[in-house]
Assembly symmetry: C2
Amino acid sequence: MMKSKGIDYHFIGSLDDIAYVLNIRANDVQCNPVVISYLLVSENSCNLYIDKSKLSQEVADYLKENNISIKAYEVIARDISDIEAKKTLYLETKKTNVAVYSSIGRGVNVVTGLNLTSIMKCHKNEIEIKNTKNAFIKDGVALVRYLNWLETGVSTGTITEMIASEKLLEFRKQQDLFIEDSFESISAYGANASMPHYKPSHEHPVKVEPRGLYLIDSGGHYLDGTTDITRTVALGELKPEEIYHYTLVLKAHIALMEAKFLEGTNGGYLDAFTRYNLWKQRINFNHGTGHGVGHVLNVHEGPQRIGTAGNEYPMEVGMVTSDEPGIYISGSHGIRIESIMVCVKDEMTEFGQFLKFDNLTVVPIDTRPVDKSLMSEEEITWLNDYNKMCYEKLSPYLSGHDLEYLREQCKEI
Amino acid sequence: MMKSKGIDYHFIGSLDDIAYVLNIRANDVQCNPVVISYLLVSENSCNLYIDKSKLSQEVADYLKENNISIKAYEVIARDISDIEAKKTLYLETKKTNVAVYSSIGRGVNVVTGLNLTSIMKCHKNEIEIKNTKNAFIKDGVALVRYLNWLETGVSTGTITEMIASEKLLEFRKQQDLFIEDSFESISAYGANASMPHYKPSHEHPVKVEPRGLYLIDSGGHYLDGTTDITRTVALGELKPEEIYHYTLVLKAHIALMEAKFLEGTNGGYLDAFTRYNLWKQRINFNHGTGHGVGHVLNVHEGPQRIGTAGNEYPMEVGMVTSDEPGIYISGSHGIRIESIMVCVKDEMTEFGQFLKFDNLTVVPIDTRPVDKSLMSEEEITWLNDYNKMCYEKLSPYLSGHDLEYLREQCKEI
């Protein structure tokens, strides 16, 4: 890849790219299983700049076997400055710090672009996708147990947003190959959910009560995949506006999930599919519709992104991306429905190769806040099919009250 | 405008911009009422470079009154080369030829961007819009008379695509203030309509027959406005595929026409609204969805454009743009439905200022090829309301068979 592009050296400064290309994982950064390091690759060498004490003997041996040289973290600048004039150095400016950039010697031909590893890692291979599907089933089991626990316990008046959040982690920990949360959970009740990036705390405990909407946005790293999911559930009586907005968010979610699009279509274009119906109601949400998701790596990963502006990178086969529209009414309520999907080939027609999304997330979508009269036949069928699929995939792993709860949540409307 | 941007000289090489800013029209180019010329504007001078013999005394006097100096067409390069070093010269590279560009002297500070006149002229003022609405009613009267003539005559077996096209021009000529066609009409029967830019001819006469679909894409310059319209009509029995595709095109047309969008949304984003449902059926069309329309000027005008790629200019209040999705099945049939719309303010909500489109075109949309079962309630209502509006606006100007035809075409479905 480097040779065909005439690149002599490729500097890589993004930790998830280094973890990906070397196939190593660590815990230097909370929620991101990466190790603080730099990588400098040439045709004949591959240097990893890292605090050696972080490497276990096993990893050190593995790297040695693969001809990766270990160098001290600090010497990167010197090695960069040693690159001779007329050589071509490739790097991604957004992922290169000033210290490194300013050590580049005179006469070096600097070529910039996305890290080549980013372009490789965003296309998940068959094994990554197969494993990820498995991780999502385990995550679905944890979520259903959690939601059943929450809905059962909420009437006791003892559950706060933070207690709930910790309980969810417990349920995830019971699952095979679980590593850690993939980001800090957003466990938000009522008006708090109107802040898309809300963070609950023990210092300001907020009780979850048996009325209104509760939003949980969370995810886990498993050794076989990374998850990220948002569900909003009805804990009791709802205001008409909550039902109206929930239904609109669900319609927006389905619109993107069910889209077919020509090869080459980018995330800026796909974003419009989601917002069309919301905008018709003069409603908008101020965040992207979808972000790439790493494989046992950062839960936010590029280069693809579904959003209103500046998302030129095309959506391609193998990319794993979220679909998460929302509506936020300050001081009242917040709704978001997020599932993760993988881009796959659809039909090839006389008009070109079409692509579509396969849904990876396996957690029922609450039907209690749905106003069926606002849904098309097609949307109702989608919702019933989705929940039926959840029942089929999750029921073998659940029993007793959890299974009953799942059955109730997956009922046709 | 120039002063605030620190511009000393503005070179304008696009003929429609010159016609716009000087408020003159001519007939140097077929279908485009412009005059071959250059314009060089500074704070204290405005030079028009033109073949003087083209100016009538009236226009010459008008220009003189407005302090426009007339110079020979050829001296532009010399005047450009006379611009002193350190002065700022503003121009649009795409609208500047090499001869002019290469005469710029050393040390001149060249700043490039859209011609400032383009940005002014794309926002139609109230008078332009009011006059344009009037032109569209006259154009609608001509179109209805034409379609009635066509449908009545088609059974005689004597009408060719070209004869039809000429007849349409006759009907337009009967209208007040008509100048000329705004582009060469695309009068296309059956399989010929599958070529979006088809050109009928007398050399290869094609008979229009009483079956299948006929497409007419045409427009006129009137002294009060420029029109551009496409209608596809059923001349008799249709194949199921023609009905299916016609209905899909109509749905795509309505989707854009009924869109609401936040201020700042560009034509690339709006394009997705049109194609979403077509793509779901794995169908696409290989042309833009909408182009700007000049006011008694070029029928294709920027900077806004609704299309899949590279259309970054936002859709703004006062812009007049077409909405013309299509489906083309090579060797079989072609369908396009085009109306012209003006961007206006919609509601301001807590989510921002929304914009929408007002439809300017007043020609009924044929309901005979519509498969109602594929239309939503909302779409059916839109179609009936649109045709009702056409009846109300056009019926005062029609009588006899023409009025009967209009009534039939505007019937509710």
